[in-house]
């Protein structure tokens, strides 16, 4: 019995993993996104601080724009909350039985916190306060 891992994109998209699979894929995307964006931000801060170059300043202007901030906040908050779920499942393996409920709980905490913060950020941006 060989273990074939040659799964095409269409089969991958058709796979019905449900909520936990969505959480897994978002955890991956948000993790890689954070490494890229925050790594870029640290590098840009280094260039600004040590050389005062326009490259660093312009990169940080892009990074501090509302679009990036909303995305980064999604990445950080979702990765943190979902990571907490993973840690709980690893520390108490019996909780695996309730992993669908835990995934729903993650979203139940995530949606109000993220929604409220994004509302405040966009509101302050639009009104210019």
């Amino acid at each position: 019995m060989t273990l074939s891992r040659k799964v095409g994109l269409r089969d991958g998209l058709r796979y019905k993993g449900g909520g936990p699979m969505l959480a897994w894929i978002l955890h991956r995307i948000s993790g890689v996104g954070m490494v890229l964006f925050i790594g870029l931000h640290v590098a840009a801060s280094f260039f600004t601080q040590q050389t005062g170059s326009n490259l660093g300043i312009n990169l940080n202007i892009v990074y501090e724009s509302i679009y990036f901030q909303v995305a980064i906040y999604f990445f950080v908050l979702f990765h943190g909350l979902n990571g907490m779920r993973v840690i709980i499942l690893d520390l108490w393996p019996r909780m695996i039985e309730y992993q669908r409920e835990l995934t729903w709980l993650t979203w139940l905490i995530f949606i109000p916190v993220y929604g409220l913060t994004v509302f405040i950020m966009v509101y302050l941006k639009i009104t210019g306060a």
Partner: protein
């Protein structure tokens, strides 16, 4: 017949990084909560908006609170916060780059390429840590 290679249980790299990922994940929560509560204690309620407070919570760097109207920046830029920043950067850099290694090795299978990825990420890790300690010490 080609079978999947399963790592032996024990103190190998995968197990160590598994433990490190969980422990550093909990450490981020602790550092963020301490940073948030300290900011509120130091008068963040009166002097800054929620976005600035969140920026400080993620990373307690004095440059993250320059666009607030706090009267004195000294309490926000001392050695304690530098230790906090270096801890967050060490945990964050290691957690993040190890995660990148795990994701890449999931999709890129050839043995030689995996060694190359490990080497490049190791160099990136050292370089990133030096760069970020420089930023923390200079800001």
């Amino acid at each position: 017949m080609k079978t999947r290679k399963i790592p032996h249980p024990g103190w190998n790299l995968e197990y160590l990084m598994f433990l490190f990922t969980r422990i550093s994940g909990l450490a981020f929560f602790m550092l963020a909560i301490v940073g948030l509560l300290s900011a509120l204690y130091m008068g963040a309620r009166l002097h800054m908006n929620v976005g600035t407070l969140m920026r400080w919570t993620f990373f307690p760097n004095p440059n993250h609170v320059v666009d607030s109207d706090i009267p004195n920046i000294d309490a926000w830029s001392n050695g304690l916060w530098q230790i906090f920043q270096i801890l967050i950067l060490f945990f964050g850099g290691t957690h993040g780059l190890n995660g990148l290694r795990v994701v890449l090795e999931d999709y890129i299978k050839p043995q030689g390429l995996q060694m190359l990825i490990r080497f490049v990420i190791f160099i990136l890790w050292i370089f990133m840590l030096m760069l970020s300690v420089y930023v923390v010490m200079g800001s």
